[in-house]
């Protein structure tokens, strides 16, 4: 790819953005920092970001943001390359941290998905699994969400530039509801809500529009999914609906995966 050579003596830290299997929504969050974008572009050297620039500067990179999950042999190789050329590797979003919605294939029979969509599955170089980045390489920091939150992204980038550890919450959406004074949907209306077990970050968006949280930020650090599942069932949620609730964008996050499997209909031994 053509592009400018690094300016000799450019001491700014370099930032690279990488895409694997994903929707581009998490990288878009960076471009959505409209008010900060030009200032950021002045403070860092954006060395590789194909969604935004045709220029690309060779590594090594100070910070790499990685979006997307690993779904091909080639991507499994490419992520190792990215790791080797990055001082700090940050995964951004549920695809990268948990395998994403495309990780639902991990629960299906081998090859079933490819056959369902394509006339010639043999043309595809796709794996039967969609796996998070940390299953392939060491990850320094994970930013959760589907999509990630703009404020959290800015915090991570600013902290890394300043050489400090970013401050990210490990508590649940419940606490963000209390902070903004939203009446609890689960207690008040019996609306199924994953807020008690979901990582804070979004600012409790769904309950604010009278909607139960559906877990797009993945499990909180100490998520008691079992207690919540019991509660939801006693409130009348059908078990198949419960399994679907745990099985969306973060289906592959260990706490959600385990809870989902615990309520799957048992198949007779074969």
């Amino acid at each position: 790819m053509t592009g400018p050579e690094p300016v000799p003596g450019d001491a700014r830290p370099s930032l690279a953005v990488w895409k694997f299997a994903s929707c581009d929504g998490c990288q878009l969050t960076l471009l959505d920092c409209e008010e900060e974008l030009l200032a950021l572009a002045g403070a860092v050297r954006i060395a590789h970001f194909t969604e935004m620039s045709r220029a690309s500067i060779a590594g090594p990179y100070d910070v790499s943001l990685v979006e997307g999950s690993i779904t091909t042999e080639e991507d499994a190789r490419r992520i190792r390359e990215v790791r080797e050329s990055s001082r700090t590797l940050v995964t951004i979003g549920a695809c990268a941290t948990a395998g994403g919605i495309q990780g639902l294939r991990n629960f299906a029979a081998s090859g079933e998905y490819a056959r369902a969509v394509y006339a010639h599955p043999e043309y595809l170089a796709s794996l039967d699994t969609s796996t998070p980045v940390e299953q392939h390489v060491h990850v320094d920091l994970a930013l959760h969400g589907c999509p990630i939150d703009r404020g959290q992204l800015l915090e991570v980038v600013t902290a890394l530039l300043a050489g400090r550890r970013p401050v990210l919450p490990g508590h649940s959406v419940c606490e963000q509801c209390k902070a903004r004074g939203t009446v609890c949907l689960l207690v008040a209306g019996g609306t199924p809500c994953l807020g008690p077990v979901t990582r804070a970050g979004c600012g409790a968006l769904c309950p604010a529009v009278d909607r139960g949280c559906f877990g797009c930020f993945g499990p909180a650090d100490t998520a008691n999914t079992e207690a919540l599942a019991r509660r939801l069932i006693s409130d009348g949620l059908a078990t198949d609906a419960l399994v679907r609730l745990f099985r969306t964008f973060n289906a592959g996050a260990p706490a959600f995966e385990k809870e989902g499997r615990a309520h799957e209909p048992r198949h007779p031994a074969s």
């Binding site: 053509t2 030009l38 572009a41 954006i46 935004m52 991507d75 009278d210």
Partner: protein
């Protein structure tokens, strides 16, 4: 990356096409000074949405399919809602319909502003990206960023957030925004309309390569307004059908070089959807400010130069701001914010205009309310053959250019159509081989 050998025989290749959503590559082979072959390869790894939707509840597609594309999630949400509502014969009231259109206008504004100012304009001004462009013309980039911000504000107010809004449901919304929240959008939208008008003037002044194509245009058409999410599917060849009729008329092909399925109309014709198509079919429906801007920019009754799509997109920015403003000025909150959705069997189809073109969804639902079959036909897959044809023309006309320039021109020819590769793989490196 291009590697010329002799002038007469060369290959141009771009691996990892930049400033498009997703991943693709392009390769052209020139033999004895004649373009022998052009090929657009889409190597976006497939995510199998149509398979993973099976067995999901009929209320889930808006949230799940939004994740096909972070740039146009509302398009996915709206086509999904319409398809499922169609399956049950549901009709939403005028207030819900207007609120949906407002949200959709927000997406058009943010997506078009991003593409016009940050992704496409740098090509015309010889810049690698918006950061370089900002060194040349900072106000132009700031204007684009401000427009984008206002589009996102609309999405945040109506949808809760801009990437993957949370407030959309089959049947309407979870909660209607208050009249005060909506009224607060009026001022920014007036500002946005002015910025969009300035954007039309700016882009109309660019230099455009002289390329015209004989496209078969396909778009939604609604006699009442410039169609975004309503109307019938029409073509410049006289087609006039509903979403189900259109799906029956296209043939989707799976070819080895692409994880996107290519569509042909009547199994035969390449066609183009998106801004050029909408403008050609719906110019009469543009509001006064957008039509005035189009006339001043000299667009005429239709525009067949793909490079000038940036001007048409800018006109659509004006239109989206204007439509949004009209909705804001007459807003009445829907009560209730959604219609009820039954648990029942049904089959339904829905089509809306994503910023980059026509997007169709079709679902079959069982008696238990679970989806048994899903089909999604995204804009980029439909446009792929027309984009390839554009590339062939661009290479033919540009054979005298040095490799680097021709490669850049090819990249630009792809960006002309604002392809969303993430959604097509259900896109781009450029390679031109001169042999």
């Amino acid at each position: 990356m291009s590697h010329g050998t002799r002038r007469a025989d060369r290959t141009f290749a771009v691996d990892g096409l930049a400033r498009v959503e997703g991943e693709g590559s392009f390769r052209a082979v020139v033999r004895d000074g004649v373009v022998a072959d052009v090929e657009l390869t889409i190597f976006e790894p497939p995510r199998f949405f149509e398979a993973l939707l099976r067995g999901r509840d009929r209320l889930e597609p808006p949230d799940i399919t939004a994740r096909i594309c972070g740039i146009c999630p509302v398009a996915y949400q709206m086509s999904a809602c319409r398809a499922i509502e169609d399956a049950y014969g549901l009709r939403v009231g005028a207030e819900i319909a207007a609120l949906r259109r407002l949200l959709y206008c927000g997406e058009w504004i943010q997506s078009h502003a991003l593409h016009v100012a940050l992704l496409h304009a740098p090509d015309f001004l010889g810049c690698a990206d918006a950061v370089e462009l900002a060194q040349l013309d900072r106000p132009a980039v700031e204007r684009g960023l401000r427009l984008k911000r206002i589009g996102n504000m609309v999405m945040e107010t109506v949808g809760g957030r801009s990437v993957h809004p949370v407030n959309v449901r089959v049947g309407g919304f979870y909660k209607a925004p208050s009249p005060e929240q909506i009224a607060a959008l009026a001022e920014p939208l007036r500002e946005a309309r002015d910025l969009a008008l300035a954007t039309v003037e700016w882009t109309a002044g660019f230099d455009f390569p002289d390329v015209e194509a004989d496209y078969l245009f396909v778009a939604l058409h609604d006699p009442e307004r410039y169609a975004i999410d309503s109307g019938r599917i029409c073509s410049t060849a006289g087609l006039d059908t509903d979403a189900a009729g259109f799906l029956a008329a296209i043939v989707e092909e799976h070819v080895e070089r692409s994880t996107a399925l290519q569509s042909r109309l009547f199994g035969r014709d390449d066609y183009l959807t998106g801004p050029l198509a909408r403008y050609a079919l719906n110019r009469e429906q543009l509001g006064a400010p957008a039509r005035g801007a189009a006339d001043a920019a000299g667009l005429g009754a239709s525009c067949r130069n793909p490079f000038r799509s940036i001007v048409v997109r800018s006109v659509e920015l004006v239109e989206a701001c204007d439509q949004a403003l009209r909705i804001v000025e007459s807003y009445g909150a829907p009560h209730p914010p959604a219609v009820d959705v039954p648990v029942a069997a049904g089959t339904g189809t829905g089509a809306t205009e994503a910023p980059r073109g026509l997007l169709l969804h079709r679902y079959e639902i069982g008696a238990d309310g679970l989806i048994t079959s899903a089909q999604i036909v995204p804009p980029t897959a439909q446009n792929q053959l027309s984009i390839e044809a554009d590339l062939r023309r661009v290479v033919e006309l540009g054979l005298d250019l040095p490799d680097d320039d021709l490669t850049w021109r090819c990249e630009q020819a792809v960006r002309n159509h604002d392809p969303c590769i993430s959604c097509a793989a259900h896109f781009l490196d450029v390679e031109v081989v001169r042999r």
